[in-house]
């Protein structure tokens, strides 16, 4: 299935892009997708403890099941205000 991955802030800069269209296996989770993109961008691995994931613009669990067409956003530490 196809999902859209969004990255922000230092994670976006590390990956060199803020948006990836990815083909992932059925049963993929935010956790498995993050692992996948960390292979291409190892610097992401150490950021993981401070990142939250959001599925279709709602904060969600790292082991949630992704659906086809999902938007998966990796939310770096927020610093609005």
């Amino acid at each position: 299935m196809t999902i859209t991955v969004l990255l922000f802030a230092s994670a976006r800069e590390a990956a060199g892009t803020g948006r990836l269209e990815m083909e992932v296996a059925e049963g993929s989770s935010p956790s498995s997708v993050f692992e996948e993109i960390s292979k291409r961008t190892p610097a992401l691995t150490r950021m993981r403890p401070n990142i939250r994931c959001a599925i279709d613009q709602e904060y969600g669990a790292w082991d949630a099941a992704l659906h086809d067409g999902a938007e998966l956003a990796f939310i770096s530490p927020t610093a609005g205000g």
């Binding site: 922000f8 802030a9 956003a73 770096s76 610093a79 609005g80 205000g81």
Partner: protein, 145 residues
């Protein structure tokens, strides 16, 4: 009743903008004839971070998610604090020293709820809304993470 209020509102409860935030305009927008209190919080770009000179800032966001969350916070503030109305605006892009990065205005018949809601809104916005800040110093730059 809810429809009436929406119909008379001049702007949305939440907004992200790349141009200057009009704080006096927000104060006008937020209050109605039954409100006796308006509390505001305005975030301004400081000239230093822990003593290190800041040259400018850049904000980015997950824009649709940030906007939806800010709208939700405005509604939650009404439910939690019994205020009349709350509006939130956040600036994105490059900001210079002294510019307004965020503004929150809350109107209420009485003062205690307005101030409490304003505090809750800025605290929750900072913690939950996917907005990201990069500080530019004379000798480098860093995401605030």
């Amino acid at each position: 009743m809810a429809d009436e209020v929406v119909a008379t509102r001049r702007a949305a409860d939440a907004g992200l903008t790349r141009s200057a935030i009009d704080v006096p305009g927000l104060m006008e927008l937020v209050s109605g004839r039954g409100d006796g209190a308006v509390a505001t919080f305005t975030g301004i770009v400081r000239d230093n971070q822990d003593g290190r000179a800041v040259r400018h800032l850049e904000y980015e966001a997950h824009e649709p998610m940030a906007l939806a969350l800010m709208e939700r916070l405005a509604n939650q503030a009404r439910d939690r604090f019994g205020i009349s109305h709350a509006v939130l605006r956040h600036r994105l892009g490059r900001l210079e020293i002294g510019e307004v990065s965020v503004a929150i205005a809350v109107a209420s018949p009485h003062r205690a709820e307005a101030i409490a809601a304003c505090q809750w809104l800025i605290d929750t916005l900072k913690a939950e809304v996917p907005i990201f800040k990069k500080e530019f110093f004379s000798d480098g730059e860093a995401w605030v993470e």
